[in-house]
């Protein structure tokens, strides 16, 4: 034996647990105008500082500042705000619906609403989003019918996915929103392939894909980055670092020693690290990456730093693994309140208008929920049982036909 101390195994643990004071001292919050904005076609070696900074636009006073300020039209900002407020109203109502036994499962996007809303407004209908289950604001920003979502969540006779999918694992091709799955990460490479296909065809469509920081540990993430880099695919690959993968803090996914955006460097891809609760910053960074992709500049990896303010799903109690009041201490604040404050600061919004918006969204959700409940909640109503046997193949083979007959449908 040498004189060296014995080896020790390091298992990352978060600084605080239930009952402790929330502590986000490890989350550095630079000034809103601290980051330079490189040209969208700058070569990757010149961008290697970007993954270690934090792109922010909204300052503490709610003003848009710095090189990344996208200078968006207030009408567009109000649309983004509406998508976020609508998402929150929908989440609140449908979470309740789960607690009332109207469906089997539900997940909210609380605290992360800016990500889907802002990216959705950068990309077009012809582009394709390969979402996670917390990017529902992408659909909200495109006026996807709330009733279709409710019917999907209730798996009722009007469910557009015909009773085959767990609640909220939507598919909405016409809205540029790819089929979701509960297998986290396994669509990240699809986005790259889809984008490669656009380039192969000489089209100008691009893809955007999301993955949680926890899922960056999957091979799917690294395979997707490899292919995106090798073939310079026109795709925006986004990590939503919401600090928590169910009960595991981001250190378990490899976030203790470096940033998730810095994963890009090993692949020769630009890596942007962005304040994910700053609608303007999310929009600006996505715009930068989209412009780069459409100009044959290839893929960009973006880490959106955000916070999952609610539980993972209806099946877990976050009070069991983190301080109950942690969300209130998150240093990047609440995305809805920050965009609201910005619009108010610009003289483009007021408390009264905001209250009216919240009320309007609550009413829209209530009406859709009622309509969906009139069709039926889970177990009260379901699509024709024949649908269980459809779409396994384009044409059913004898097994499917026989089994459908055996069940009498």
């Amino acid at each position: 034996m040498s004189n060296r101390p014995r080896l020790t195994l390091h298992v990352p643990v978060p600084k605080v647990r239930p009952g402790d004071r929330p502590d986000f001292s490890h989350v550095a919050v630079p000034a809103a105008d601290a980051m330079r904005r490189p040209d969208v076609l700058d070569a990757e070696p010149g961008l290697r500082d970007m993954p270690y900074g934090l792109i922010r636009v909204l300052d503490e006073g709610g003003r848009a500042v710095g090189a990344w300020n996208p200078r968006l039209d207030p009408a567009l900002l109000r649309r983004g705000l509406r998508a976020m407020v609508l998402t929150r109203a929908f989440d609140t109502r449908m979470f309740q619906a789960h607690r009332q036994g109207k469906t089997s499962f539900f997940m909210t996007s609380t605290g992360e609403e800016a990500l889907g809303a802002a990216t959705s407004m950068v990309l077009g209908r012809e582009d394709m989003c390969f979402p996670t289950y917390r990017i529902v604001s992408y659909l909200m920003a495109r006026d996807y019918p709330l009733l279709d979502m409710v019917n999907q969540i209730y798996s009722n006779a009007a469910d557009p996915l015909k009773g085959r999918q767990l609640p909220i694992l939507y598919s909405a091709r016409e809205y540029g929103f790819y089929s979701l799955s509960g297998n986290v990460g396994s669509r990240f490479g699809h986005a790259v392939g889809w984008a490669m296909a656009s380039a192969y065809k000489g089209d100008d469509r691009i893809a955007i894909s999301f993955i949680g920081e926890g899922t960056t540990a999957e091979g799917d993430f690294h395979e997707a980055l490899t292919f995106a880099s090798v073939y310079r695919a026109p795709v925006i690959l986004c990590i939503t670092n919401n600090q928590w993968a169910i009960s595991s803090f981001q250190g378990i996914a490899g976030g203790e020693e470096t940033t998730f955006a810095a994963r890009a460097i090993g692949y020769g891809l630009p890596g942007l690290r962005v304040d994910g609760n700053d609608f303007l910053a999310v929009h600006a960074a996505t715009q930068w990456a989209a412009e780069r992709a459409r100009s044959n500049g290839g893929a960009t990896l973006i880490e959106f730093v955000t916070y999952r303010a609610a539980g993972h799903s209806t099946s877990d109690d976050p009070g069991r693994y983190r301080p109950a009041d942690e969300a209130a201490h998150w240093p990047l604040g609440d995305p809805v309140l920050r965009l609201k404050a910005h619009l108010v600061a610009c003289g483009e919004w007021s408390e009264q208008q905001h209250e009216a918006l919240e009320s309007e969204c609550r009413e829209a959700v209530r009406a859709a929920a009622k309509q969906g409940e009139a069709v039926g909640t889970l177990g009260q109503s379901k699509p024709d049982t024949r649908e269980m046997f459809e779409d396994v193949y384009k044409q059913p083979d004898w097994r499917i036909v026989e089994q459908r007959r055996e069940l009498g449908c």
């Binding site: 790819y178 799955s181 490479g189 699809h190 392939g193 889809w194 893809a207 292919f227 004898w398």
Partner: protein, 337 residues
């Protein structure tokens, strides 16, 4: 019409489809400039261009994932997994994504991809170049699994697979790429040139998925086989003089159940043969189907002849690989029954 071995026939199918459909493209490990380790894509990159047939990183999961994304866009990617032994990193993509995409999206997206992969033993490839994983694909609802046994079928089935709108696993029995192999390691290997199925049309044609071929008509016993085992079974029949009917399934999903039942109800005896290990192999499914639907016709228990339930061995390959002797013994047992 030209005389082709199986590799040439596969190459011809790919060539025809690249020329015919601009949405067809090929990628995989070493398939571009080099033309693939078994030469199946030889000359295609040069003839059709770099973006139609190109090299991929050593990443089976990434290859299949990107193919699925391309399929969702509207392309018909044909990807090569260099050996079926290496397909397992892509298994999640095939099972959780390709197989279910149409179903879970309510028909909004689907996966018209073809995954080609050389499979099976008989080449002294050891554990990592010899396995026969067809059963793990047959078990997955939403996938099709095709296994040709000769050049004519290989080309026609591959074109049908590429044109199919569902994901197809296309397993190529590499032992018979260059000539039919009857399982007799002690005899000189034949070439395809002497085999009628080496006459392959130059242009486009299909062999439909889900249609078995009766490669030898007979009355005494039905032998169900696919891939290399079709040739081993024919050799066993010839040597034994038993008047067996040999059915080449050609695809195991979809499965030509009618052809199987029609034959077994006539012969009243059935032997199921495959290279893959026996326990929970596809032979178990075939045996169950025959038992369930032909029980009152059967004169003897159904026999299964398969690889032993061990990993694929190197030095013991000739003890492991199913040869004519074991098939003859199985046929004889059914005839005594």
């Amino acid at each position: 019409m030209a005389t082709m071995n199986m590799v040439r026939a596969i190459n011809s199918a790919l060539d025809v489809m690249l020329a015919r459909d601009p949405d067809v493209l090929i990628f995989g490990e070493d398939v571009g400039y080099f033309g693939g380790v078994f030469r199946a894509t030889d000359g295609l990159a040069e003839k059709h261009g770099l973006t139609r047939c190109f090299d991929a990183p050593i990443s089976e999961g990434g290859i299949v994932a990107t193919a699925i994304g391309m399929g969702a866009y509207g392309l018909r990617p044909v990807v090569e997994i260099q050996f079926a032994d290496y397909i397992l990193p892509a298994y999640d993509q095939l099972v959780s994504e390709a197989a279910r995409l149409r179903y879970r999206s309510g028909g909004e997206f689907w996966s018209p991809i073809t995954v080609r992969s050389p499979y099976g033993g008989g080449i002294f490839g050891g554990q990592t170049h010899s396995s026969s994983p067809e059963a793990i694909f047959a078990h997955v609802s939403g996938l099709k699994t095709v296994i040709p046994s000769n050049p004519f079928d290989a080309k026609g089935l591959l074109i049908a697979a590429i044109e199919d709108d569902d994901p197809v696993i296309f397993l190529e029995p590499k032992r018979i790429y260059n000539g039919p192999f009857d399982g007799r390691f002690d005899r000189p290997v034949g070439t395809w040139a002497q085999h009628p199925a080496s006459e392959v049309p130059d242009g486009h044609y299909t062999v439909p998925l889900g249609k078995a071929a009766t490669v030898r008509a007979g009355a005494a016993v039905t032998v169900l086989a696919y891939g290399t085992m079709v040739h081993v079974a024919l050799s066993a029949v010839e040597e034994s003089g038993i008047d067996a009917e040999v059915i080449d399934l050609r695809s195991i999903v979809p499965l030509d159940l009618d052809a199987i039942l029609h034959s077994v109800r006539r012969t009243r005896r059935c032997v199921v043969v495959h290279e893959a290990s026996r326990f929970a192999g596809f032979g178990g499914e075939l045996s169950s189907l025959v038992q369930e639907r032909c029980f009152y016709h059967l004169e003897a228990p159904i026999e299964r002849v398969a690889g032993w339930d061990t990993p694929y061995p190197h030095a013991f390959e000739r003890d492991y690989f199913v040869g004519p002797a074991r098939i003859i013994a199985a046929m004889q047992r059914t005839l005594k029954g």
